[in-house]
């Protein structure tokens, strides 16, 4: 009888231990997630394969871009955010392909796919010793503009690889609901 009871108690202890481990330990998805390399606007953020420095952020209501040789004006339901960055490869040539904008509430805006043929957009190929400028272009709601973090990584599934997290700082919102520096049209055909 004593022995049976001891077995049951042991079983219960084992079950609660396993459950506690499951609750408290990070899950597989978190363990193999991207490794953050943090910095803020103007800092050089160093990752495993690339370095990135965000120079400036601009907001615009419309974008002017070339598509298939003719000039187009791209409108949006929110605003355009254009982040000008400088990339450098570290030990070997690589390609940086993925960027997204994480707003203050956690909504994540991937870089736009509507300007796919414009110069200076991701993916960019970078080589060691040859820094290269690029533009990250996002389409977002104006209320997601302040205190945003730009996430940049080489590949979409950047498991166990570094991801640059650049904090862009607070942006005031004007009475019209847009950041005060918002211009009407930004010309993406101009060299960076």
């Amino acid at each position: 009888m004593m022995r049976k009871l001891a077995n049951i108690v042991l079983l219960l202890v084992a079950v609660s231990l396993c459950y506690g481990l499951q609750l408290s330990k990070p899950h597989h998805g978190d363990l193999i997630g991207p490794i953050p390399a943090r910095g803020k606007l103007g800092d050089t953020v160093v990752g495993r394969g690339f370095e990135i420095r965000a120079e400036k952020v601009e907001f615009a209501r419309k974008l002017k871009a070339d598509r298939f040789g003719d000039s187009k004006v791209l409108t949006t339901g929110g605003i355009w955010a254009v982040v000008t960055v400088e990339f450098a490869a570290r030990a070997q040539s690589t390609t940086v392909a993925v960027a997204s904008w994480r707003g203050p509430t956690g909504l994540t805006y991937d870089q736009t796919e509507r300007l796919s043929f414009t110069d200076g957009l991701l993916p960019v190929a970078i080589d060691p010793g040859l820094p290269k400028k690029a533009r990250l272009i996002f389409e977002l709601r104006p209320d997601e503009a302040s205190d945003a973090v730009v996430l940049v990584s080489e590949k979409l599934m950047s498991a166990l690889d570094s991801q640059a997290e650049i904090w862009l700082g607070p942006v005031a919102i004007g009475p019209d609901g847009l950041p005060p520096g918002t211009v009407d049209t930004l010309d993406m055909t101009q060299p960076i």
């Binding site: 899950h27 597989h28 998805g29 187009k72 791209l74 409108t75 949006t76 339901g77 929110g78 997204s100 956690g106 909504l107 994540t108 805006y109 991937d110 736009t112 796919e113 509507r114 389409e139 977002l140 709601r141």
Partner: protein
């Protein structure tokens, strides 16, 4: 002999009680609720919520392939177009809208629709959280078929899983129908929207 019969009776009783209990538990857990129930009919002039999308049907029409949002249709082909406003309700940009609407038309079933952002004719772009966009679903009709008088659609939703069973990563799985939707098919892109 009698003793033997008694134990048999006991065994039968035990088995019977066990079976009844198992069926009762299955019933409580909803095993018998999976009967085919008719899908609810959705109102076209309203907002339709799936877990990921908020849909607002605007108009359906048939059109010639020329200049239809820059979609690569066969020359001279007719197409069935559905325009609607889509809002991404999730927290991430996504283009997981290919299975949201299923046209219940025998003739267009084999061809997948082209999905276009009407703002600047971008073919299947990602839609961003909380930003409504007008989209067009364009089904190419086979040669020689007349466009139908009404377009019947099945709206499909998916379910969020924090961790999938294969990779342990979050995602949207298990497509299941929400309801059916029937829209009148106008002629030409000039037809009026059914709601403002």
């Amino acid at each position: 002999m009698l003793e033997n019969a008694g134990s048999r009776l006991k065994a039968w009783l035990a088995a019977g009680i066990g079976t009844v209990a198992a069926i009762a538990v299955a019933g409580v857990m909803g095993a018998f609720g999976a009967r085919q129930e008719p899908l609810p009919v959705l109102v076209p002039a309203g907002r339709i919520e799936t877990a990921q999308w908020l849909l607002r049907p605007l108009k359906a029409y048939s059109a010639e392939g020329e200049n239809l949002y820059g979609v690569p249709l066969k020359p001279g082909a007719k197409a069935l177009v559905l325009e609607l406003e889509m809002t991404n309700r999730t927290a991430k940009s996504t283009k997981d809208y290919f299975d949201v609407l299923q046209a219940n038309l025998a003739m267009v079933n084999p061809t997948k629709p082209f999905i276009v952002l009407t703002r600047d004719s971008t073919l299947s772009p990602e839609l961003h959280p909380g930003m409504p966009e007008r989209m067009a679903y364009i089904w190419q009709l086979p040669d020689g078929t007349a466009p139908p008088a009404s377009l019947e659609l099945t709206v499909i939703r998916k379910t969020y899983k924090q961790r999938d069973n294969l990779y342990g990563l979050p995602g949207w799985f298990n497509p299941a129908p929400v309801g059916t939707l029937t829209l009148p098919v106008g002629s030409g892109p000039g037809s009026a929207d059914i709601q403002p």
